[in-house]
């Protein structure tokens, strides 16, 4: 299923670029030879397939061999470039996912367990406020505070090894973790799932026996919803990472995607889209594995 989906991903990416009005040849030839005869000659010289499906198949064949082509802007091979920067993005998104969960899980557990008391109501409103903040404006606030309170300008690459590097690493993670706009949804989903599980009869039985409710509700009420929410929020985090990497000059995939979009660097943005889709699918694969571990019946679906 995952392989079939990635095939679909490659096809969608190809179709979008195939339908685009701009011609990659113009970018390649730096707009020097837009006339028909010259570009036809260039196409023949580079042995470009004529029809769309042969183009797609040859492109797909190259991708399967790991050859995403070279970036128009830098001339470097796309795949190694994207993999090099995607490590940074994975750090950023994983860190902010943990940040989001650290905030959201206690609020969700409290309000599922105790109902909507004034304290929980305050926290819930807080999550709504936080997830409505424009993320880059929030980033600017954090930068401003860090300059004026700590005297540090946090626009350094994640690879800097000075004494403040952990601080540089933490700020984008905090900003993306708070400002990715999903906290209120995460809290809401976890709370609903947990209240549903708490109302199940086996929890009632456990409570009547005096057994630990947490132990009994952990798998269905905690592990499953959390992996599910992680898997479904990875695309949002990768999207938010584009903006946050821009604010903090973080050398990641999102920043590279932005540069590629600016210079209409087709091979690069195609490669980034495919790699991002692979990361997303890996997230749902993980969710599936946890689901089957918790509930072996699910493997028969």
């Amino acid at each position: 299923m995952a392989a079939l989906l990635l095939l679909g991903v490659s096809f969608v990416v190809f179709i979008i670029l195939f339908l685009s009005p701009g011609n990659p040849f113009n970018a390649l030839l730096k707009e020097q030879a837009a006339t028909g005869a010259v570009s036809d000659a260039a196409k023949r010289g580079l042995s470009v397939p004529s029809s769309w499906y042969t183009q797609y198949l040859s492109w797909l064949g190259n991708i399967l061999k790991g050859d995403f082509g070279n970036s128009i802007q830098t001339g470097l091979p796309v795949l190694s470039e994207v993999i090099r920067v995607s490590i940074n993005t994975v750090y950023l998104t994983a860190g902010s996912m943990i940040m989001t969960l650290v905030l959201a899980v206690p609020i969700a557990v409290l309000s599922a367990r105790r109902g909507l008391t004034p304290t929980n109501w305050f926290f819930t409103i807080f999550t709504y406020v936080v997830s409505a903040i424009p993320v880059f404006w929030f980033g600017y606030i954090v930068i401003y505070i860090s300059i004026h309170q700590f005297g540090v300008f946090p626009l350094a690459s994640s690879s800097s090894s000075q004494g403040w590097s952990w601080f540089h690493f933490m700020l984008p993670v905090i900003v993306l973790g708070l400002g990715n706009g999903t906290i209120s949804e995460v809290v809401r989903y976890l709370r609903e799932e947990m209240s549903r599980v708490f109302a199940e009869e086996y929890i009632l039985t456990a409570r009547a026996k005096g057994a630990s409710i947490w132990k009994h509700s952990f798998k269905e009420g905690f592990l499953l919803p959390i992996t599910e929410i992680i898997a479904s929020k990875i695309p949002f985090l990768l999207g938010g990472a584009v903006v946050v990497e821009q604010v903090f000059s973080w050398p990641g995939m999102g920043r590279m995607a932005w540069q590629a979009a600016q210079y209409r660097d087709y091979p690069l943005i195609m490669g980034i889209t495919v790699v991002a889709a692979i990361i997303v699918r890996m997230g749902s694969l993980m969710q599936r594995v946890v689901q089957i571990m918790v509930n072996p019946r699910a493997s028969r679906e």
């Binding site: 679909g8 685009s20 701009g22 409505a132 600017y140 401003y144 999207g239 938010g240 903006v243 991002a276």
Partner: protein, 297 residues
């Protein structure tokens, strides 16, 4: 006689009591706040469309740069070239309103069609719809939009088409789940056995009577989504372009002065975004709790 009246009260308990009397106070507050924001947005759109503004949104006033709110003649102050922030905020709605509606229309119409097809007929149609939903969910939305921007041009309508299409899976799965739930109910079976047309069962009995609430909720969430997406893209330089104001490019332009300590030009539109998004989210979630009865205990 008394007995009959008691029975009738019980029946009316079930159906006649208006939903706002059964609802939680907190949910009503949420919906009230959201509706206020919604009406404000609507009024501002009409004010902007009829050019009925407190000041000229494009007129520069170099004598009065970055005036704080409350200045004479500029209730919300002026930005970094002395333009009236309030008028720009009001006219900034124009940038979202129609594109946002387009995104909502696409996601609702396509999502409903897919959801109905997958939920009502199941089988291979369901397989295809599930596959397409998973496929669309595999793309980070902003990356897909950047791909579209690179391939076509940075136009707000193209961007909103992508936003609409990427919202389709969410709507489709909601509608599908609702229909699978409804199909086990007796009234659908009764409608089928009475020989009603499939079309009228789907449109009247399923969509109109049972799905309009979730569709309205999805519409409000879709509007919030559209505004946030435009804001992010404005920051990246692909949103609505200056001098046409949108809230996103107002924050972006103002944030160049943020680190110097001039907060207001970017804070005003950022707060506008914050309150609006919060309004739409609370409206959607509050309506969900009230109409779908998630918290009726």
């Amino acid at each position: 006689m008394k007995k009959y009246s008691q029975i009738s009260i019980k029946v009316s308990d079930f159906s006649e009591v208006p939903f706002w009397k059964k609802a939680n106070t907190i949910d009503l507050i949420c919906v009230g706040y959201g509706l206020t924001i919604f009406i404000l947005v609507l009024v501002s759109y009409i004010l902007g469309a009829t050019d009925f503004l407190p000041g000229d949104p494009q007129k520069l006033n170099l004598a009065l740069l970055m005036a704080p709110p409350g200045t004479e003649g500029h209730i919300l102050g002026t930005d970094f070239v002395g333009r009236d922030i309030l008028s720009r905020l009001i006219i900034g709605i124009q940038a979202y309103f129609l594109p946002g509606l387009l995104a909502i229309a696409i996601s609702l119409i396509l999502g409903t069609c897919f959801g109905v097809a997958a939920g009502y007929w199941e089988g291979w149609i369901d397989t295809i719809v599930t596959y397409t939903s998973n496929l669309l969910n595999s793309f980070p939305r902003l990356v897909l939009i950047l791909l579209m921007v690179a391939a076509f041009k940075p136009d707000i309508y193209y961007i909103m088409i992508v936003v609409g299409i990427t919202n389709v899976p969410a709507v489709a799965s909601l509608v599908k789940g609702k229909i699978q739930f409804l199909k086990q109910k007796n009234f659908i079976e009764a409608a089928i056995s009475l020989g009603l047309k499939t079309r009228s069962i789907i449109i009247k009995h399923i969509l109109w009577h049972n799905c309009r609430a979730i569709l309205i909720i999805q519409a409000t969430l879709g509007m919030a989504e559209a505004i946030l997406m435009e804001t992010s893209l404005s920051y990246l330089g692909f949103g609505v372009q200056e001098p046409t104001p949108s809230w996103g490019n107002m924050v972006q332009a103002g944030s160049n002065y943020f680190l110097q300590g001039n907060f207001w030009p970017s804070t005003a539109p950022a707060l506008a975004i914050l309150f609006t998004i919060m309004g739409f989210h609370l409206l959607g979630d509050g309506l969900n709790n009230i109409l779908e009865g998630k918290r009726n205990k």
